[in-house]
């Protein structure tokens, strides 16, 4: 069994075993799943008025329900050199496959984008599991090493081309500065931060040559205990800023370090 098949089967097995019930969208609309009770405002559909609640309170209240219409899931895989560090790329593949099978399981549309040498490639959305497999296959055939990526230009492109409301799942390591505010204003956005443990806590190694995975160029910098401390401080500052940004714009996010924890993590972020 080749590695690709292994990734797909594993994702499928995990998702179908652990996932049950429907994925709740945060979009409000017509459905059967109660979301909240709000005061009537001009423009609200009178069919939504909760007569019992209104009678109890003496004011008109409207029941807001979660939208039950088909959800369009757009998975954006940020493929670049840094994904080759540790087991990050395997985690990315497994995450995309898992999201695809979740969509398939829930009869939602699944499609997405991935980057090759900084350019976006589109995977047409469909409800078929073949789309999931095609997407992962395309990603699997890429070698992320030596590829660089402008996060912001990718997001700008998505803003321009994603017209209908969708659940946008951005999978990347988010080590560059990123602004998802505009995207989150229009769409529901989930950020999946794929990292490697060694990337967050680099082990001290005295005799190594550091190579930039986005350019494949060796660096004259060296990894000393003090340099590691300096790096970790920078990373913490960056992550704190990132968390603030996500929270500030209602973006759900998770951090995944290993393929084994994908299902559990996705379960939390989608609950």
């Amino acid at each position: 069994m080749n590695e690709l098949a292994h990734i797909l089967i594993r994702a499928k097995k995990d998702i179908y075993r652990y996932l049950s019930g429907s994925n709740l969208s945060r979009f409000l609309g017509h459905g059967y799943d109660f979301a909240e009770l709000v005061e009537y405002r001009i423009g609200d559909d009178i069919r939504d008025i909760s007569w019992i609640s209104s009678a109890k309170r003496g004011e008109i209240y409207v029941k807001k329900m979660h939208e039950e219409k088909d959800l369009s899931i757009v998975c954006v895989a940020m493929v670049e050199g840094r994904m080759a560090v540790g087991n990050k790329y395997e985690t990315l593949l497994q995450t995309v496959a898992s999201m695809g099978y979740i969509a398939h399981y829930q009869h939602n549309l699944f499609g997405g984008y991935y980057t090759i040498k900084g350019a976006l490639q589109r995977v047409e959305p469909s409800k078929s599991h073949q789309t999931v497999e095609y997407f992962v296959e395309q990603l699997y055939s890429q070698n992320p090493l030596g590829q660089s990526l402008e996060y912001q230009s990718v997001l700008e492109y998505l803003m321009e081309h994603l017209h209908s409301k969708a659940l946008v799942v951005v999978v990347g390591d988010f080590l560059d500065d990123v602004d998802l505010a505009r995207l989150a204003y229009k769409h529901e956005v989930i950020a999946i931060v794929v990292r490697s443990i060694d990337e967050e806590i680099p082990p001290y190694q005295s005799d190594v040559e550091l190579i930039d995975p986005t350019t494949n160029q060796a660096s004259s910098k060296i990894l000393t205990p003090n340099a590691i401390k300096y790096y970790q401080k920078k990373l913490q500052q960056h992550d704190a800023k990132l968390t603030q940004h996500f929270n500030g714009h209602g973006i759900r996010f998770i951090k995944i370090y290993h393929p084994d924890e994908i299902v559990e993590r996705l379960g939390k972020v989608l609950a």
């Binding site: 050199g81 840094r82 001290y204 550091l210 190579i211 995975p213 990894l223 205990p225």
Partner: protein, 298 residues
Amino acid sequence: MSFSLLYPLALVLLPFVGCFVYCKSRPKPIYFSKLEWLPKSYLRLDSDRWIVMGVFGLLVVTLATPYLYKPDANYHKKGRDLVLAIDTSGSMAQSGFDSLERFKSKYDSAIELTHRFIQNRHDDNLGLVVFGSFAYIASPLTYDLEGLSQMLHLMSDVGIAGDSTAIGEAIVQSIEALKHSRTQNKVIVLLSDGVHNAGSISPKDAVDRAKKSGIVIYTIGIGKEYDRELMRLIAQKSGGKSFEAKSAKDLEVVFEKIESLEPSPLRSSDTLNIQKLHLYPLFLAVVLMGFLVLRRVF
């Protein structure tokens, strides 16, 4: 104070310190995500490598054994190689020799005064021969006066070499002790309170051998019952002097007289007053290694 190295050849290892920079194996390449978040490094080597190089350098210096010495202080130093031959026969246990302490034996008084004599011999190399029915070298020639004092306690006691008096053998053993001496002044100080009555070597033969070796014998007769004539002859034939110590006070005077005898230059003046410094670089190397280990563990 002058500085020198005991094993300067060890310094040929020092250029190998360059191997930590140039002979190192090809470093393992690893991909690092955010190189821009690492600080700029002005040194191509990490601090660990500098520490290892430092440890190597310090160990080489330790091996070369640096030391400080005072050449001037030693070149004009004068002294002699001197062997004390002490009688430990049974008669030395008699008391009444010291008028202040009547129960003190001749042996105890002699040992006490010998100790004082030893303490003042800063420029001499001293040896110790103990004799009774036979003789043995209790300590070879040494400038370690502290050690010699201890040997005097440990290796001698009344009757330790038998109750008789083998003066001939005592002289021969003393000659043996002076065999490797290179000074002009080689001296035997023979302390005895009896008559020659043991041993296979006659005092006459022993004195002849001493004379041939250029050794001067000073004899000290202790008490009143010793063989005055023999002691006088031994001293006279070897070019020395014979002294008589009827009491502890006399013995003290005799030792003072011997002290005033003209000394000669010492054989190895430049090895004295050496202050070896090799422990300092060794200590520093151990501290650096400890630091390195702690840094790796924590």
